[in-house]
Symmetry: C2
Subunit: 109 residues, 2 copies
DNA sequence: TTGACATGCAACCATTTGGTTGCATATAAT
DNA sequence: ATTATATGCAACCAAATGGTTGCATGTCAA
């Protein structure tokens, strides 16, 4: 079964796709051609990446004349953070807390 | 180039690996056999997943007798959050802020 | 010491992934 | 009307991924 979360994680697993998201974060509403500039691969390859990002709901598109505009949707990223990553962060905070306690206790020697 | 972040993202991209991390989060120091229980795949397949998690520094291992113990390291997860995901979260907060402003302005009609 | 258990290692396999090229179509500009 | 630009679609391909099986090795227990 491919869950929604799984699509997001898999979409984020590729450096080229993360770079595309990064560029949309800096400047939203870029066209396909604009997104292709500076990416060392064919337009069709970029399109494939964008389709995956769309399927993960990380990017929304709107056609304007002959151009296709791309918009970042950061919501799914936030979702996997709150629903998954956050649990591990809290674990780390707790681990640091435990370490701090251990260090303080070792000072009692 | 395969960066450190890239290894972490790719390690998290597989549901089975996320499940393994989840189990270590709930109970740290599990052996390989214990981690295999409840996973519908061969021991060797689980080993491969654990190797990837180790290479991403998400799991640390220690051999004790004939058993191999596995420990969760949540630090890399926190790193990709602060260095990458957080930027998108702030974006979302800002978007919500903008939406709120827009709604309030529309109330002036 | 013999057998059972826990793990390691390697070969192999099907599917997915990430890319390519070629061609078609729709829109804008001259 | 013609040409250039922006995008869509499909076939193809190599490499990576996620799994398998078979066998070897190290360690604990009877």
């Amino acid at each position: 079964m491919v869950t929604h979360d799984d699509k997001v994680f898999k979409a984020l697993a590729d450096a080229s796709r993360r770079q595309l998201l990064d560029r949309l974060r800096k400047k939203n509403g870029l066209t396909l051609s604009e997104l292709c500039d500076g990416h060392d691969m064919s337009r069709q390859a970029v399109t494939k990446h964008l389709v995956l990002l769309e399927e993960a709901n990380l990017v929304t598109t709107a056609k304007q004349g002959r151009e296709k505009l791309h918009y970042l949707n950061p919501v799914p990223i936030n979702e996997i953070y709150t629903r998954w990553i956050g649990k591990f962060e809290r674990k780390q905070v707790q681990a640091l807390h435990n370490l701090k306690q251990a260090l303080e206790e070792s000072n009692d020697d």
